[in-house]
């Protein structure tokens, strides 16, 4: 149990954000209204994706240094957990879009640089799995996908963090459009938002450790039998 304390922390933090996120006061703002509470759930998905994909990048670089197949296992599993959170982020964002920017048009998607960048980022990571699936030889697959993974993370930074800031975007925090933090995120919202980010990242790491362990077990049994 002494190695599992952080799992308890993750569950407590996310449960807290679910309860406090609905019941604490939020600033009354035009257009978003109560949907501002999505900040506690939609935004942590992206923070988690970026954090977990960074873990993936880290292990890909590590693989290219030491050529240890364990790093390749962590990198690939982290990429898939990160993509899962990215899909959750894009799906929740789409619903939020429908009832704020798309309220009058009834659209689920707005042709916005941030949204398109998020979609492109996910496609780049889908390509990572296709690339892995197309190479049979273990070391070769690990090496080529590690190099691609570094490229993918650089593209993530470009499409999610740089390009949206250079042009106009509806999305908060981009193109001269301030994020919630600057004007709207009062101290009560911070009290929920920060634990939400930590909680979800820890949950994702938990899922990642489970995936890594099953993958290692799978490979062990495959080679032993």
């Amino acid at each position: 149990m002494k190695n599992n304390w952080w799992k308890i922390v993750s569950v407590v933090f996310v449960l807290y954000t679910i309860i406090a996120g609905f019941l604490l006061k939020v600033p009354a703002l035009a257009m978003v209204h109560e949907s501002i509470r999505n900040l506690y759930f939609h935004v942590p998905m992206w923070f988690t994706m970026i954090a977990i994909l960074f873990v993936s990048l880290w292990h890909s670089i590590k693989y290219l240094y030491k050529f240890d197949i364990k790093s390749d296992i962590v990198a690939s599993q982290a990429a898939s957990v990160g993509t899962l959170f990215g899909i959750l982020g894009i799906a929740t964002g789409s619903i939020w879009t429908r009832y704020t920017w798309g309220e009058s048009s009834g659209l689920w998607w707005v042709n916005d640089v941030k949204l398109n960048g998020a979609a492109i980022t996910l496609l780049i990571y889908f390509a990572y799995f296709i690339l892995r699936g197309s190479i049979d030889e273990e070391q070769k697959r690990a090496r080529i996908s590690a190099v691609y993974n570094i490229f993918a993370y650089v593209m993530l930074i470009v499409f999610l963090l740089i390009l949206p800031r250079m042009t106009d975007s509806l999305h908060p925090g981009n193109g001269g459009n301030p994020g919630f933090s600057k004007y709207d995120l009062d101290k009560y919202m911070r009290m929920v938002f920060y634990p939400a980010i930590i909680g979800w990242i820890l949950i994702a790491i938990w899922i990642l450790t489970l995936r890594v362990r099953t993958e290692k077990l799978k490979r062990k049994t495959l080679f032993d039998d």
């Binding site: 449960l15 309860i19 938990w206």
Partner: protein, 76 residues
């Protein structure tokens, strides 16, 4: 004098309209039940808590299963 009467009358109208406003809202039908307060938002919170604890329980069971498998393979 006339001005004073005018302001009094208009003041009275404002008062009446205010009371008319408050009478348009229906009598509260809420029960003395915690779950029904604040537009029943507690129900949503409870549902989300159940979903989340369900997923966490699933993760814990998976975690234990993998632990067991790891031990079995080690002892093989």
């Amino acid at each position: 004098m006339i001005n004073k009467i005018k302001t009094l009358i208009s003041f009275a109208f404002v008062l009446f309209s205010a009371s008319a406003f408050s009478q348009t809202t229906d009598a509260p039908m809420e029960m003395a039940d915690g779950m029904r307060q604040s537009g029943k938002i507690y129900v949503v919170v409870a549902v989300l808590c159940i979903i989340f604890t369900g997923i966490v329980t699933y993760l814990i069971i998976l975690d234990r299963k993998i632990n067991k498998l790891e031990k079995e393979i080690k002892n093989k």
